[in-house]
Amino acid sequence: MDFTLSKEHEMARALFKEFAEKEVKPLAIEVDETEEFPRATVEKMAKAGFMGIPVPKEYGGQGCDILTYAMCVEELAKVCGTTAVIVSAHTSLCCDPILTFGTEEQKQKYLPDLASGRKIGAFGLTEPGAGTDAQGQQTKAVLEGDEWVLNGSKIFITNGKEADVYVIFAITGVIEKRGRMTKEISAFIVEKGTPGFTFGTKEKKMGIRGSSTYELIFTDCRIPKDNMLGQQGKGFNIAMHTLDGGRIGIAAQALGIGEGALERTIEYVKERKQFGRAIGAFQNTQFQLADMATKAQAAQFMVYKAACTKDQYTRDHKTSYSVEAAQAKLYAAEMAMEVTTKAVQLHGGYGYTREYEVERMMRDAKITEIYEGTSEVQRMVISANLLK
């Protein structure tokens, strides 16, 4: 077992760090305040190849591993949670299912534009009545001639209005399963601009405020028959497989947010003086920092382990990374929440103001315990594997 990163990974990290510091950090406060999608930053990331890191070169991507992709999300999240989730949702929730389940024609048609960042991707599973209970879908797709007709809506969609290509789930029928009638769910690729596909309200969120979270509405939205992703009725499996990968992205985001808050706090406690001494000279501060750093380090190992396990899956198409991804996300998200809360506490009154970024990081951290499977769902995944 070797915990050292390869030279390539070290150089990639240096690249992500430099980019994050120069291009992302200066805009983080503004993105949060204005709730505006950082389009110019996304264009710069596209140019640098960040929008298709694990997509093979034959489809216009960078052909790198999941570990490299996770490090990119981590470094972006250290300075801006919004920018990190834009990359994560685009890559894990749109590029990945098309790459894994798409036909050759679908891959050729969609991946080069997505991987180069000319187009942005999104994923629509959640509905008002179907969150953790993904089976509670109401959106329907009916085949009429050569077209599927979609009706229904999706909520809380990251990259919502800014995306161009959407992976959407809908009920395509009812089937008997173990003596019970259950909904048959299928996945589809829907393009922006398709008649009948419109946007509802924009969510006003606590954190990651620039990520364009919208409701998607489908009213007699007709898409070509060929836009079904994977086999009919396999939508639930596609969604769960996709979320397993997505959780590595979110775990990396949570990791970065925690690490970013820790970095800010280390700088702050060296400068802030009380009782004639820097507050970093007090043992309480030192012990808090020690705990924060230890948990962040543990989270990093778990995230990298999950990423490397998914890389193993990419090679052998057998290795399961579901539990590793769930554990990494569960731990990293809870670490992010704890570390950012402590960071605010160590900043005192200043930490509660928007001038000091730990306040934003604490708000950004909370969502990592909720989206792409709540911490409770991760515990279900982990324990189900223990008791099977």
Binding site: S6, E8, M11, A12, L15, K47, A48, K57, Q62, C64
Partner: protein, 260 residues
């Protein structure tokens, strides 16, 4: 079109400067970067690659560790990297460095050579023009804009208050300013490819038409007696006095310090 770019791995001043006991720079102990002017030169070459499909070869002279700067150049999009390294080349001043690089470049086909104006660790701005002298080709220094016109280059050469537009037939050498452009980032895929790529390593024996007497420490007419970090000045003093008192206060201080 073939472009050769000379780059140097220099200490990253953000990481602090470290010295050996003998007063020379401890390069192994310092974080390093690609010299900013050289990076702009590389970007200029890569734009020629984008536009004219130019082949970009990057050359550096240095310790084996300088291979890193070539990998970075490849990850940005350069086609080939050549590392010139040999113990006998160590301790070179600008004369011996330019002789070495010219000796290496004589092995290559080129239409254009681009170097940075100067390196942030030496600030001499001599190596580029010296290479052109050794190779017998024209040089245009301090380029703030580069255009290709047929078999010539048209370059804006920067001055403090103006610029000159100069045209030279290729082959020629240009020295680039950091202000020339905004260098692109490496790409993640480019990094992994760069580490798979082979870096050509040349030693003394591979240098063409260079005398031993012009190489390394022995071939260097300039000797650095001592190098030191910037010595921090003491903290300034701030006083609030009315103008008349201020003048006499300053006069007293200047006398006290024997300035006047």
């Amino acid at each position: 079109m073939k472009v050769v770019v000379c780059v140097k791995q220099v200490p990253d001043t953000k990481g602090g400067v470290k010295f050996n006991p003998d007063g020379t720079l401890d390069r192994a102990a310092m974080l390093t970067i690609m010299n900013p002017d050289d990076k702009a030169g590389l970007e200029a070459a890569l734009r020629l690659k984008d536009k004219y499909d130019a082949e970009v070869t990057v050359v550096t002279m240095g310790l084996p560790k300088a291979e890193e700067v070539l990998r970075e150049a490849l990850a940005m999009g350069a086609d080939k990297g050549i590392l010139v390294t040999d113990r006998v080349l160590g301790g070179a001043d600008t004369w011996a460095t330019s002789q070495t690089l010219a000796g290496a470049i004589r092995n290559l086909d080129y239409d254009l050579i681009i170097t940075g104006r100067q390196a942030i660790d030496g600030d001499t701005a001599q190596v580029g023009p010296q290479i052109s002298e050794h190779l017998g080709i024209p040089v245009i220094s301090y380029a703030q804009k580069i255009e290709i016109e047929g078999d010539s280059v048209v370059v804006e050469r920067q001055y403090d208050d103006r610029y000159h537009v100069l045209k030279a037939k290729m082959p020629c050498l240009i020295t680039a300013l950091a202000e020339l452009n905004e260098p692109r980032y490496m790409t993640p895929g480019g990094i992994f490819d760069a580490y798979k790529a082979e870096i050509t390593t040349w030693g003394r024996a591979d240098l063409k038409d260079v005398e031993d007497s012009n190489l390394g420490l022995k071939g260097s007419p300039t000797q650095i007696a001592r190098a030191s970090d910037k010595v921090r000045k003491g903290q300034g003093e701030k006083v609030t006095l009315d103008p008349n008192e201020s003048v006499s206060y300053i006069m007293d201080k200047l006398k006290e310090k024997h300035v006047i």
